[in-house]
């Protein structure tokens, strides 16, 4: 079929043409609440043709995963599903377990999120792939294992010892490949990939997505790719459906939708990516923070043996930071970024080296008032039993200060009414703001410049909220001339926010410079890959 006729068929709301592999008609999923129902998926209507790659784009919580699970009848029994989903002529909604069991994994398969949590921790990965085959085909054990091995190899996991490994011994990207092998081993006609790269860094993400595309093409199957990052969809999808609050608000060929979106929500979503904060020129003043020769070694004890392994987390790190400046620290996982952050904030004191504040070694109390850290998962840094007021007042009580709680909340864009709510009731973005407000409360407000360390704090937020938080942070920086140390593995955030970027690898600084310069002309191999991937994802953005 030509592109034009595909366009016409997909935009048309009439009954789908006979070659449609999957046709969904007014799918609704509701969960009963105390009063009324919570409608998670509203009137979803779409059709997927053979060999197509369809992307589903939307912010987190908009119902994408729920819709995918509804297709396979995997929702909890309390969910109420209505509408029609026809797969190769067979109606899936309300079908018996026996029918669904045959379809799952063999004809429609799901690649789930969270690779570590989606694999059985006590079974070797090759056996996990083989089990899927054994559940569907009457083949002997040995042959199942052989086919499993070749499926893993096709997904990119070729080494024998990797195939025989257990999930926790593999990296995130390798686990994702296992999930892909599991999904494709029975040769399904439709693959649903639910955010396959959200837990990965940019290099692995691009690779995974490319592997997926080639495998699906070889198998002549269709692919539904669910993501919240439009750059991924641009890489491999033919069509895209934009979801907001349970319903499809826009659909069409991917390049068209991403270049000139029509729905206001899509426009907002895409614009948030392009906004870059303005970087005013910095005057060269004396450094606020000066770190010299920081080292830290960990003793890793085996659980059952007495011998330990020495891990050198930091091996001599120097850096400088000025008031009003943002420094980004990037590097592969395990490079020592978090250790560096905790060493500067003196949560885990370094073995040797100096951390000087305005040229002097600060006392414990000074550190508490001038340097604060915001953790990777802002929600986890708030005690769920506390109310917002109690969480905000805690540093005040410890440091014996007074402050206006409502004003603190307003500063970060939270309403005063939030004071009486439990911290566990806030959304992800609100928790991040609260953690920020609390850190600001602890900092000295008598005018001395302070330092805020953000340890991958923005990574767990979705694009939309992330953009808002970045704006808030840069506003605060201008107001209070705060200095930020930003630890990130998402280079685009670093590129937008930082004045200077440091690349950390195995405890050492291997490169430093202004972000744009580094992106163009870096020499460090990992950073090169990272930079290339980021640029590739951002082309034409």
């Amino acid at each position: 079929m030509s592109i034009e006729s595909r366009l016409v068929a997909s935009l048309c709301m009439l009954p789908s043409p006979p070659e449609a592999l999957l046709s969904v008609d007014r799918l609704c999923v509701a969960y009963p609440l105390e009063h009324g129902n919570a409608l998670v998926v509203r009137n979803w209507t779409a059709s997927i043709l053979r060999g197509q790659v369809v992307g589903i784009l939307g912010a987190s919580g908009c119902g994408k995963t729920t819709a995918a699970l509804a297709l396979l009848g995997l929702l909890s029994p309390s969910a109420r599903v209505s509408g029609s989903v026809r797969f190769q002529g067979v109606e899936l909604i309300g079908a018996s377990e026996a029918v669904l069991r045959k379809i799952r994994g063999a004809q429609i398969s799901l690649i789930p999120q969270e690779p570590l949590l989606s694999l059985n921790p006590v079974i070797r990965v090759v056996n996990q792939v083989a089990e899927v085959l054994r559940a569907h085909r009457q083949i002997g054990a040995a042959e199942c294992k052989d086919r499993a091995k070749s499926a893993l190899a096709q997904a990119g996991l070729t080494a024998q010892d990797l195939q025989q490994a257990y999930p926790h011994q593999l990296s995130g990207g390798q686990r994702q490949r296992v999930l892909i092998a599991q999904a494709l081993v029975c040769g399904p006609s439709l693959v649903v990939a639910d955010e396959p790269t959200s837990a990965l860094d940019a290099v692995s993400a691009l690779e995974i997505v490319r592997v997926l595309r080639s495998l699906v093409r070889t198998a002549a199957a269709s692919l539904i790719l669910i993501a919240h990052d439009p750059r991924l969809l641009k890489a491999i999808a033919d069509r895209v459906l934009v979801m907001h609050d349970g319903s499809i608000v826009e659909e069409g060929p991917v390049r068209e939708v991403l270049r000139s979106p029509r729905h206001p929500y899509t426009q907002r979503l895409l614009r948030s990516l392009r906004d870059a904060a303005e970087r005013p020129a910095k005057t060269s003043a004396a450094p606020l923070l000066s770190v010299q020769g920081l080292t830290k070694t960990f003793q890793r004890r085996g659980r059952l043996t007495a011998s330990g392994r020495e891990v050198r987390a930091l091996a001599g790190v120097d850096l400088e930071l000025r008031a009003g400046q943002t420094l980004a620290v990037v590097g592969p996982s395990g490079a020592g970024k978090s250790t560096l952050a905790r060493a500067i904030a003196r949560l885990d004191p370094p073995d040797s080296g100096d951390v000087l504040l305005e040229g002097r070694r600060p006392s414990q109390e000074t550190i508490h008032r001038r340097i604060q850290m915001i953790f990777q998962d802002p929600g986890a840094s708030l005690n769920p039993r506390f109310s917002v007021a109690e969480a905000l007042a805690e540093p005040l009580a410890i440091q014996r200060k007074q402050s206006d709680l409502a004003a603190m909340l307003r500063q970060v864009g939270l309403p005063e009414s939030a004071l009486s709510r439990r911290t566990s009731q806030l959304s992800g973005g609100q928790k991040a703001r609260l953690a920020l407000a609390r850190a600001l409360t602890a900092l000295d407000d008598r005018g001395s410049p302070c330092i805020l360390i953000l340890d991958e704090s923005l990574a767990s937020l979705d694009l939309y909220v992330k953009a808002q938080l970045i704006q808030l942070l840069s506003d605060l920086q201008k107001q209070r001339s705060l200095a930020y140390i930003l630890i990130a593995h998402d280079l685009s955030v670093a590129a937008h926010m930082a004045d200077e970027v440091i690349v950390l690898s195995e405890g050492r600084i291997v490169e430093r410079g202004a972000p744009r310069n580094l992106l163009q002309s870096t020499r460090h191999p990992h950073f090169q890959a990272l930079a290339a991937a980021t640029l590739a994802l951002e082309e034409n953005a």
């Binding site: 045959k102 994994g105 989606s118 059985n120 006590v122 079974i123 899927v132 257990y166 999904a183 659980r303």
Partner: protein
């Protein structure tokens, strides 16, 4: 790796046993009333025997010396002497220990062999008729104290004329009924905990279901807490067996222990204490080895 682990645990066990024995000897010193004083000795012992005993066990020496003499007796296998029976303790202990082991090992095997499938089926058919029945019956049995269970079953056996003195059927039944409900509950709970993990839904999404899902996929993942439970179940069984042996009249370690306490027969008191600790430590070790075999996360962490 495994050998090193095994050796370390056994060494650890020896230290524990040594600690327990030392503590027992120390308590003896603090105890009011005479344990090793001559007034407590069997008045039928001849003066020569008394002299020999005093020399052999250092009865009039200091505490550390008494302990070392006792260690010597452990080394040559006699474990001290029973003043009431005028026999080496080991001669009294081993036959009794065999009888107790007979009971405890049978009950241990039976209760686990029954608990695993019952727990898994109960979890698999959650809220179905099997699950509900299992939950009600285990709730009732768990609440029933072991002692009461033993008395009631003994009573029933005697009244219906089924009681055969010296037969193992009644004590094993009591022990299994005492241990089984808790095991079933824990197996069920462990399996249910695992069944809410994401990888189980993923397995279902691949079409894995039924017995394959529950026994091949879920049970191994749930094995971790169950292996720790194994050691605890051994501990519970040993304590329960003391009560059951007393009620039913089974000639095991329990009644011997009680006799020794009442008679203030010191070395005969220490013997069962050390022996029961050994059984328990061995049971916990087996549990840990099972864990090592079943959970790769423990293995690999070395």
């Amino acid at each position: 790796m495994l050998r090193g682990y095994l050796l370390r645990r056994m060494l650890h066990g020896f230290f524990l046993l040594a600690g327990i024995s030392i503590l027992s000897f120390v308590l003896l010193e603090l105890a009011p009333g005479d344990f090793l004083g001559e007034a407590k000795l069997n008045p039928q012992l001849s003066p020569q025997t008394l002299l020999a005993l005093r020399e052999r066990y250092g009865l009039d020496q200091t505490l550390p010396q008494k302990y070392i003499q006792w260690l010597g007796s452990v080394a040559d296998g006699s474990f001290g002497i029973s003043f009431a029976y005028n026999l080496p303790v080991s001669q009294l202990l081993w036959p009794r220990a065999r009888k107790t082991l007979q009971l405890t090992l049978t009950s241990l095997a039976l209760s686990w062999l029954l608990a695993l499938p019952l727990g898994v089926w109960s979890a698999a058919g959650r809220d179905g008729w099997l699950d509900r029945t299992v939950r009600i019956v285990t709730s009732i049995l768990i609440a029933l104290p072991d002692l009461v269970l033993a008395c009631v079953l003994f009573f029933v056996a005697v009244q219906t004329g089924r009681f055969r003195s010296g037969g193992p059927a009644l004590p094993v039944t009591i022990l299994v009924l005492a241990a089984l409900p808790m095991l079933v509950r824990h197996v069920r709970s462990a399996v249910l905990d695992v069944s809410s993990q994401p990888y189980v839904r993923v397995a279902r999404s691949h079409g894995i279901a039924g017995a394959r899902l529950w026994f091949r996929w879920l049970l191994p993942a749930a094995a971790n807490p169950l292996c720790s439970l194994f050691g605890l179940s051994v501990a519970g069984l040993i304590s329960s067996s003391l009560l059951v042996e007393t009620v039913v009249g089974w000639p095991g370690l329990g009644p011997l222990f009680l006799e020794a306490i009442a008679a203030r027969d010191f070395y005969l008191v220490i013997g069962p204490v050390i022996l029961s600790a050994t059984f328990l430590i061995a049971g916990v070790l087996v549990g840990d080895l099972l864990l090592y075999a079943v959970d790769p996360r423990i293995r690999i962490r070395q």
